[in-house]
Structures are given as C-alpha cells and as structure tokens.
C-alpha cells in the first residue's frame, strides 16, 4: 500500500498529468472574462435604463443641460457610494454616512460662521473631524468585534441627533444655518469646491457652435458643476487604488476573509479603520460641496443617503458579504440613480414610481450578482 519511492518516480510523469488538466482549463472564454467583471451588472443596467428613457422621455433629457441635471444628484450620491463600495468590499458597512453629511455640514458651517476661519482651514478642519469620527466607528467595530451594521446604526442616530442639537445651539433655536456662503471668502479654494468648472472651454465650444447657446452668445450650460468632476476623479482614483495598488489588494483580502488575510500578513485592522475614515471623509466632501453651493446647511441634509449609497454600491456589483465589488460599478450605480430620479420628470410617468423602481433594481441586482458570483468563482 505504502510505496515510499513512488514520489520520485512520479516527478517524471508530471508533464503528462499537466496535459490533461490543460484541456479542462482551456474553456476560459471571453464570456467568462467579461462576466468576471463585477461592474457588468451596473453597466448593463445603465444601458437598459438609458434605452428606456431614450424611448419614453422628452428628447431634452439627453441634451447637454439635461445630462448635467442628471449628473448633479448622481455626483453627490456617487461620492458616497464609491466610498461605501470600498468599505463593503473591505467587509464592513457604514450606515452613518447620511447623518455624517448633516453633522459635518454643521461642523463646516460652524467653522465658517462662528470662528470666522478662512475657507481652506475650515475645510481641512472638517475633514479632520470626519476622519476622527470615522476612525472611532472603525475602532469600535474592530475592538468589540460587533457587526459594523449595528455600531454604525447607533451612529446614524447619534450624529443625526447631534446635528439637530448642534444646529439649535449654534443658531439660537433654528435647525437651519444660513449665511455660510456669504461668510466664506471668495478665493481659489472656493473655486475648487463650488460653482462650475471648465467655463472657458464651454464658452469656446459655444462660440464655435459646438454646444447650444443663447442668442447673446453665452452657452446655455456655462460649465460643469465641480461636484461632477470630484465624482469622476474620485471614481478613477478609487478604481486605480482598488485594482492596481497594494492597498487595493488588502481591501479585497480584508473583506474576503479577514482571518486568512491576517495570517498572510495583511494589516486588516488598519485597512478597515482607514476605510471607515474614508467613508466619513467622503461624507464630509459631499457636505462641503453642497453647503457651499446652497450657502446654508440644515439637519435633514443627507437624509437616507446611507441606504441610497449602499444600494448604488450593490447595483455596482458589491457583495453584502464583502470581498467582491468595484468602484466603477458604484459610479455607474449612482448614475442610474440620478438618471431615474431626474428622468421620470421628463416622462409622462408619475415621478413617485422612483421608489418602486429603486427597490426592484436593488432586488434584481442582488439576484444577478449572486448568480454571477457562483458562476465565476466556482462556488457550489
């Protein structure tokens, strides 16, 4: 039964064994390669939704102005969704994102109106506050080993409540803080965080009749809202980090199997804490962008954005169990969101169908993702 010389003899026959396996593995087709992309579902969904609106909506929806209309809400949600996607791939949730938008909005507004700090300092300080809160979330999750779902659910309420209390305290009884826009100084920092960008390009395009313009020669769309550029930039950066860097591999590993990752030398706790800080900072970025544009902040800012962000991430291919997903998928997911929420007003449909659509889309995405995962990863 036991033949101790057998291994040595078998080494020479190894190539023959390999040939057989060769044939079985050759079946990796282009289709499998495409299906292996987690963002496939989101891209397919975006195409379907686009076709739907192309056939039912007023044609002005897909004019330059219409596209900007769609992308503005998509950008705000998308910045949150991409961060939420990275965190989900890392195996955790953050339900406090929406409340974090309100709270960091209050913090930012207070730095501007109450302390009179210059804009750059106020923005930097807001990010620091957000990072500390995100880090706190992460440390509680890691040290207690409680599910992040429950810890951040607590923070959903804590931060929303603090926003209300803080606003009343800072404004003397109101839940809205005005005058932030007027108090913030006008300089290059403000250009980066509010208003439109690429105005020169759009003026030039209009002058050359490449885009629509008013009779007086100014373009109907004067530029790209900066939030859209932040959205696109963040999506590209997150995708690059996820797919091309060491940190990206660690995020996948931490979410795929934290224990296995730890045994292989991945600093799982640091990765997760970093991701919680990132989602909090993404919320702060959205708060700063929207507060500067509106000139005010209120306690309802970011309401239910945590759910929308997670839905966009799931539509983008993230698994609820972690370890799988993509940032560019969340990017598409957010655009689908913006397109449907804005697009329905261009159609004859009641825009309250939006929520029905949302739920249906989520369910479909989850089913589709599960199917694909089983197909691609050979899970049985």
């Amino acid at each position: 039964m036991v033949n101790t010389t057998q291994p040595t003899a078998d080494l020479t026959t190894a190539p023959a064994v390999k040939q057989i396996q060769d044939e079985r593995l050759k079946e990796v087709s282009l289709l499998t390669k495409i299906m292996r992309r987690p963002e496939l579902g989101a891209l397919a969904g975006l195409i379907l939704v686009t076709i739907f609106f192309l056939s039912t909506a007023d044609s002005s929806m897909f004019s330059l102005a219409g596209v900007m209309n769609i992308l503005s809400p998509a950008a705000q949600l998308g910045i949150l969704a991409i961060a939420a996607a990275l965190l989900m791939i890392g195996g955790e949730f953050d339900l406090s994102i929406g409340s974090m938008v309100a709270f960091t909005g209050l913090v930012f507004g207070s730095f501007i109106t109450l302390t009179g700090w210059p804009l750059l300092l106020a923005i930097a300080a807001t990010f620091v506050v957000a990072a500390v809160l995100g880090g706190l979330n992460g440390q509680i999750v890691i040290r207690t080993r409680l599910p992040s779902f429950i810890v951040t659910l607590a923070f959903l309420f804590i931060l929303r409540g603090l926003s209300l209390v803080g606003l009343k305290w800072a404004t003397g009884g109101s839940t809205q803080m005005r005058g932030i826009g007027a108090a913030a100084n006008e300089d290059w920092v403000r250009e980066i965080f509010s208003g439109n960008a690429l105005e020169g390009l759009f003026a030039w395009l209009a002058a050359n009749d490449l885009i629509a313009k008013f009779p007086n020669g100014t373009p109907t769309v004067t530029g790209v809202p900066v939030s859209i550029l932040w959205f696109i930039g963040f999506a590209l950066l997150a995708t690059w980090v996820l797919l091309r860097t060491r940190a990206g591999n660690w995020i996948f590993a931490a979410g795929g199997d934290a224990n296995a990752a730890r045994n292989s030398g991945v600093p799982v706790d640091r990765v997760k804490t970093g991701l919680f800080m990132l989602t909090a900072c993404a919320a702060a970025l959205v708060a700063i962008l929207t507060v500067l544009d509106a000139g005010s902040t209120d306690a309802r800012r970011g309401f239910q954005k945590e759910f929308e962000a997670i839905i966009a991430a799931v539509i983008g291919g993230c698994l609820l169990t972690g370890g799988y997903g993509s940032a560019i998928g969340a990017f598409f997911g957010a655009i689908i969101f913006g397109m449907v929420s804005i697009g329905l007003t261009y159609t004859r449909f009641d825009s309250d169908w939006f929520q029905v659509f949302l739920g249906a889309m989520l369910l479909l995405a989850v089913l589709f993702n599960n199917f694909i995962r089983r197909k691609v990863t050979g899970e049985r």
Partner: protein
C-alpha cells in the same frame, strides 16, 4: 550554515491557556531537507504546537530555537520573517480573489514613486503562472478565482506561495485531510519536491499512511506530551498507528472488527 544545526528546535515547550494545560513539555526538531510528521489524535496538542511555532501563541515556558538561536515571536509576521511559513488547514486563501492576488497577498511587489506606487501585476501574473507550472498545475488564467481550483490545487498554491517567499521551514496543518485520493497524491508529491529543495517540513496529519508515505521522522503527541520521535527505519506503520491512537484500545477494536482498522 551547519547542516547539523536544526532549522527549528523546541525543548520542553509548555503552553497553558488559563487553567488548561495544552502542552506540557513537547520537544521537536526539524533539519534541512527533512519531512517530520507530527502525529496525534484529536486534542493531543498538535494545533497548539504549530500555532506556537507560527507565532500565533506565545509559549508559557520552554526553549524555542531557530537555527540555533533562541527566538521570541510576537506575531505571525515575525515567524514569517524568520522563514517559518504555515499553511493552515483553512488555507489562508480567499476564494473570491484571483490566483495571482492570493499568491502575492500581503507581500505585493510594488514599483514607482510614492503617489504613483502600484503593484506590478504583469510581473505577478508571470511569476504565478511560472510557479504553478513548476508544480504541475497549469494555470492558464492567473486571474481566475481561487474558488475555481480544486482542494488539492489550492493546497499546492498555498505551499508554492510559502516556498516562493523564501520559507525555510514549512508547517503544513493537515493538508490532506479533506482531499480525495488523486489530490492527496498530488500534495504528497509536492511535499517531497519541497524537501528536495532543502526545506524543512513539519507535516501534521492523523492519517498514518499519508505520514509514512513522505515522512523521514515521526513525532507522536499525546495529551500535550511527546510520546517519542522515531526514524522511519525504526518503526513500522502498524506500530505507529497503535502508538498514535494510544495502543491497546485500538488493537482490541481491530481484533473485534477482523483487523480492518
């Protein structure tokens, strides 16, 4: 580099967990190019011993020498840096990630200067394909998820990873326990290959046949103690089996069942 100095040597290793005595004086040594099999029934202390060697647990007392020098590990990372790589039963592999990403997990080679520093995945893919080829697993597509590999292939990927990253001692925690016959022979063959490269291997199993097929020496653990260490020439497979299972009881059962155990 004296061949006579063991790669790893532990003497009278003791480990307590609160009031539970998991190890009460275990001695073990591994030399270059040697497969030492660690045998023992459930609860004998095999897992505690290897986790102590791998830096997961800290010994309560006893000597732990790596290449003749006393060491003290604070984390699995320290053990890895000292050249002790452990392939756990649950594999430390992530099924949803690609073969390449798993292979380089935690030790990704980077290139470029800081803000643009990134993992050289082309290089990683090439290395993965080549290392897999060496052990006779032809990974046509290193991007395929590890979940699509068979249990034996996964085990081999995990071992190949440890070898590639310069392990001097390989600790294999029941690598064959969940595998079929063909896959077991694939793994045993690979263990033999690793030994020929001059690595020391600690092979944990409770299958005496698997142990006898590749082992040079056998250390039997029972109730947290070493019952003894035997060279292959000193002991027959039946004796080993009896020793491991605590002798007489099994013999009695064996007779009752007509010598089938």
């Amino acid at each position: 580099m004296d061949v006579q100095v063991p790669l790893i040597e532990v003497r009278n290793l003791v480990k307590h967990f609160g009031s539970v005595i998991a190890l009460s004086g275990v001695s073990l040594s591994v030399h270059r190019g040697e497969v030492i099999c660690l045998l023992g029934d459930n609860g004998a202390g095999k897992s505690t011993l290897i986790k102590t060697l791998a830096g997961v647990h800290k010994p309560t007392s006893g000597e732990f020498l790596v290449e003749g020098r006393p060491v003290f590990f604070n984390s699995p990372r320290d053990a890895l840096d000292a050249g002790i790589a452990t392939v756990y039963q649950d594999l430390a592999m992530i099924p949803l990630m690609s073969v390449t990403r798993n292979f380089f997990m935690g030790r990704e080679p980077v290139k470029g200067v800081w803000p643009f520093r990134h993992v050289d995945f082309d290089h990683c893919d090439a290395v993965t394909r080549e290392e897999m080829h060496k052990i006779g697993i032809d990974v046509r597509d290193p991007h395929q998820a590890v979940g699509t590999l068979s249990g034996g292939e996964r085990q081999c990927v995990a071992i190949a990873r440890a070898v590639y990253f310069g392990a001097k001692v390989l600790i294999l925690d029941e690598p064959t326990s969940a595998l079929g016959v063909a896959q077991t022979s694939m793994v045993l063959k690979y263990i033999h290959q690793v030994r020929q490269k001059g690595l020391g291997v600690i092979f944990i199993t409770h299958n005496v046949r698997h142990a006898y097929a590749v082992g040079d020496r056998f250390t039997v653990l029972n109730r947290g103690k070493t019952l003894g260490t035997y060279a292959k020439s000193e002991i027959a497979i039946d004796e080993l089996q009896n020793l491991m299972a605590g002798g007489k009881e099994l013999q009695a059962v064996s007779e009752e069942l007509g010598g089938m155990v």
